[in-house]
């Protein structure tokens, strides 16, 4: 539904030119929710603005619903933009229009009749739970309500694609949850294709099917959300994941970690379980088969897109041979094993 082909964007010219995007290839299939995550300044905003050409790419092609936007005249592009709703971090509602009139704006721009406007706006207000607020002005609404108005407005022209530019970044966690639920509902009921950019893993985890990781203007990683959360392919991906899961070994342990194993030292491992390995009784098996005791330092279970993800940081206590065999056994299962280091016995 959305296809970016070798899209690059450069600001300025000559020695002061800044490369905001480099060779972005991105495919978003119809009906999916695709997230792009990255730190601030990574090029997320430029990327999403290139999809509806609020920013015109310096090179490359942008194709939405089979039509190449980058090849269109200004007036064709305006028509094509009706197929592409957009919501923003700061909502961008018109302060001097009521909720109803804000939602009606795209239809006014399309010169729809008053009757059509009423017929289209009322169900959208219903869906976003704003029917009783329709005569109010944005200043009287909470952040979550404002974003609901913005969503209703973005849907008024019956687009096929919804672009979300940090749509929940200005909202508190509870409101974020309800807005994400609304986006998911829209995706499922209307079959709308959603491209969203965010710096919050929570957003990706809750509603995205696929995720791209952007850094320095490049898409450095792309994966199904379940795969990304179980085994990110890049260092940056792991950093995002660890930061999100907050599953770091305790600081005092990290300070005692040695990269090399030695006499009387034990490996400390981070285990990531997913799929079948979640339900395998691994710990007791290590004790039984290898005589290795497992001391769990931290553990967490997350459910991501219907898949269960277990994380654990544990110390394997046993002789060097025993722990080596235990590690081999662990690696033979469907789980990701990372040896964080070795720690000297304290007892």
């Amino acid at each position: 539904m959305i296809s970016l082909e070798r899209v690059s964007k450069t600001y300025g010219t000559g020695p002061r030119a800044v490369q905001a995007l480099s060779d972005i290839d991105l495919q978003v299939p119809k009906g999916t929710i695709h997230g792009v995550i990255g730190l601030s300044g990574a090029g997320k905003s430029t990327l999403i603005r290139c999809v509806n050409l609020l920013e015109r790419p310096t090179t490359g092609r942008v194709i939405v619903d089979g039509a190449e936007l980058t090849a269109m005249s200004a007036s064709d592009l305006r028509q094509a933009r009706h197929q592409c709703g957009m919501i923003f971090q700061h909502f961008n509602l018109l302060t001097n229009r009521t909720v109803f009139d804000n939602v009606a704006l795209p239809l006014e721009l399309m010169r729809e009749s008053r009757r059509t406007i009423r017929e289209r706006v009322m169900p959208l207000l219903e869906m976003t739970g704003l029917t009783d607020k329709r005569h109010q002005y944005p200043a009287q609404l909470s952040g979550g309500q404002k974003q609901r108005v913005a969503i209703a407005r973005a849907l008024a022209s019956r687009p096929k694609v919804l672009l979300c530019d940090e749509a929940t970044s200005a909202l508190d966690p509870q409101t974020t949850t309800s807005i994400l639920a609304l986006l998911q509902e829209i995706n499922q009921q209307l079959g709308l294709t959603i491209l969203l950019i965010t710096h919050e893993m929570e957003v990706v985890k809750s509603i995205c099917h696929r995720v791209g990781l952007i850094s320095g203007g490049r898409l450095v990683e792309e994966a199904d959300v379940g795969d990304f959360f179980t085994a990110p392919g890049t260092q940056l991906g792991r950093e995002f994941l660890n930061d999100f899961l907050k599953l770091e070994a305790p600081r005092e342990l990290v300070e005692r970690l040695d990269a090399e194993s030695g006499q009387n030292s034990h490996p400390v491992v981070r285990l990531t379980f997913s799929g079948d390995s979640v339900s395998t009784p691994l710990i007791s098996r290590l004790a039984r088969e290898h005589g290795v005791d497992v001391s769990i330092l931290q553990a967490k279970v997350e459910s991501i897109q219907g898949r269960t993800l277990g994380l654990m940081i544990a110390e394997l206590i046993g002789s060097e041979t025993q722990t080596r065999q235990a590690l081999a056994t662990l690696k033979s299962f469907d789980l990701h094993v990372e040896v964080l280091g070795h720690v000297q016995r304290t007892d």
Binding site: G85, F88, N92, N96, P106, R153
Partner: protein
């Protein structure tokens, strides 16, 4: 206070109101579009035209830098062409209008500049044409700021109109100079000043009321 004096003050008040009204209305009709043009032709704006913008900017600045008393006499030939005479209340309204247009334009430009760029971006994402952005986003969102600018202009016009006497335009300022100053009549001076103060107060209060009423920020 003699009835003759009351008549004179009343007559002068009407003259002032007339000049301010004519100059206010025409300068708004010309100045608002000019202000919009100054804003939308800026670089990276919706109708970016750097050359046009530069020229408009210079013309506007020239208009604003000529002292009013000089403008009043400098454009006498133009005034005669427009109203057929170089003296009288109508003749004074012409330079007042000319002076107020660039003033309004800059205030409107400033008001438009206060509209968050995100709103323009949102309208563009909906496929709005530049004209639709002006009519449906920029002007309605800047309504409060524009009304505030027009209020400032009206008040400035009341004050400028005091110089209209130089071309026989009449009005309260002229009355104050001729009767109050030249004929050493402090009572007349005081009355004209009091009437002007009341007039400005009323205009300002009315303007503030309209701004409050029209803006939902």
């Amino acid at each position: 206070m003699s009835s003759a004096l009351i008549d004179l003050v009343w007559q002068s008040t009407l003259e002032t109101l007339y000049m301010v009204a004519v100059a206010g209305i025409i300068s708004a009709l010309v100045g608002v579009p000019l202000g919009v043009l100054l804003y939308v032709t800026r670089p990276r704006q919706i109708l970016a035209q750097p050359v046009v913008n530069g020229i408009l900017g210079i013309v506007t600045n020239v208009g604003r830098s000529i002292p009013f008393i000089i403008l009043l006499v400098a454009i006498i030939p133009f005034t005669r062409m427009i109203v057929g005479s170089s003296i009288g209340t109508n003749a004074a309204a012409v330079p007042l209008t000319i002076a107020a247009i660039p003033f309004v334009a800059r205030l409107v430009e400033g008001a438009l500049n206060e509209v968050p760029p995100g709103l323009i971006e949102a309208a563009q994402s909906m496929g709005a044409t530049p004209m639709q952005i002006i009519m449906k986003v920029l002007l309605p969102e800047a309504r409060g700021g524009i009304l505030n600018g027009l209020t400032i202009t009206i008040v400035a016009l009341v004050s400028y109109s005091a110089m209209a006497g130089a071309v026989g335009g009449g009005g309260l300022g002229d009355l104050g100079i001729r009767y109050g100053y030249n004929r050493f009549n402090p009572t007349v001076m005081l009355i004209t000043v009091v009437v002007l103060v009341i007039m400005v107060q009323l205009f300002q209060s009315l303007g503030d009321y309209l701004v409050r009423k029209s803006d939902h920020k």
